[in-house]
């Protein structure tokens, strides 16, 4: 009788443990886990690939401003040269001669 009860208890415990494990294996990824995993994935992505522009928003603006300064200075040089050419041979055509400036296209 004791032997029978022991086998019965062990069997019940085994079935319960198997059931719990089966339920855990079949359960869909819980919503509670998602943010933590997502945040971890995002950090990894930013660290290794640096694909997210929102991580460093300042440099692109600075680069754009610096590029614009260079464009303006090139424009001024071209306009200056055009004006000097006009002074050498003052005609209407020379005064309004086109340049290669990207700012006036």
């Amino acid at each position: 009788m004791e032997m029978f009860l022991m086998v019965l208890v062990l069997s019940v415990v085994g079935v319960l443990v198997s059931g719990v494990l089966f339920a855990a294996a079949m359960r869909e990824p819980g919503r509670a886990d998602a943010p933590a995993f997502g945040a971890l994935a995002a950090r990894e992505e930013e660290r290794f690939f640096m694909l997210r522009p929102a991580v460093r928003p300042a440099p692109p603006v600075r680069v754009a401003a610096d590029a614009l300064v260079l464009q303006i200075e090139r424009h001024v040089r071209l306009e200056h040269a055009a004006a000097e050419a006009f002074l050498l041979f003052p005609t209407f055509e020379a005064l309004h001669m086109r340049t290669l400036s990207p700012l006036v296209r």
Binding site: V61, A65, L68, V69, E73, V76, H80, A83
Partner: protein
Amino acid sequence: MTREQPDLVSGLPPEEATAVLALGAPMTLAAGAVLFRLGADAECLYLIRSGRIALTLPMQIAGREQDIVIEEHEPGQTLGWSALVPPYRFTLKATAPLATEVLAVRREDLLNYCVAHPRVGYAVGLNIAAVIGQRLQVFQAMWLREMQRVVGRVHA
């Protein structure tokens, strides 16, 4: 100097040109140094002996003030003629993009010399007028070109 005669003393006999240049005090500017700032009192006229001077004006770009190069001057050229024109304030900022040497001629010294030597003063006056006139004509043409583009946009 790389040129035979700086534009300030162009046309003067060598001994008179040397006497005018002797009024100046040599200055050495490191790369990036500011010779004068926009709005500062203009006491001196400058002759570039070596290197280069960039004249800039400030613009507001992307919320920041940026100096835009308007003109660059080379050895032999004169700048800072605001020192001779009331109200004697610089209307541009001058910086040395590379190591540069200039000769700083004080307004008072130059005017006193010109009063004492009228023939030299006449020649120097004409040379300064040529420098100022060239700037005026170039910027007048640049302004008109810009106005033509504005008119073109309005009537497009």
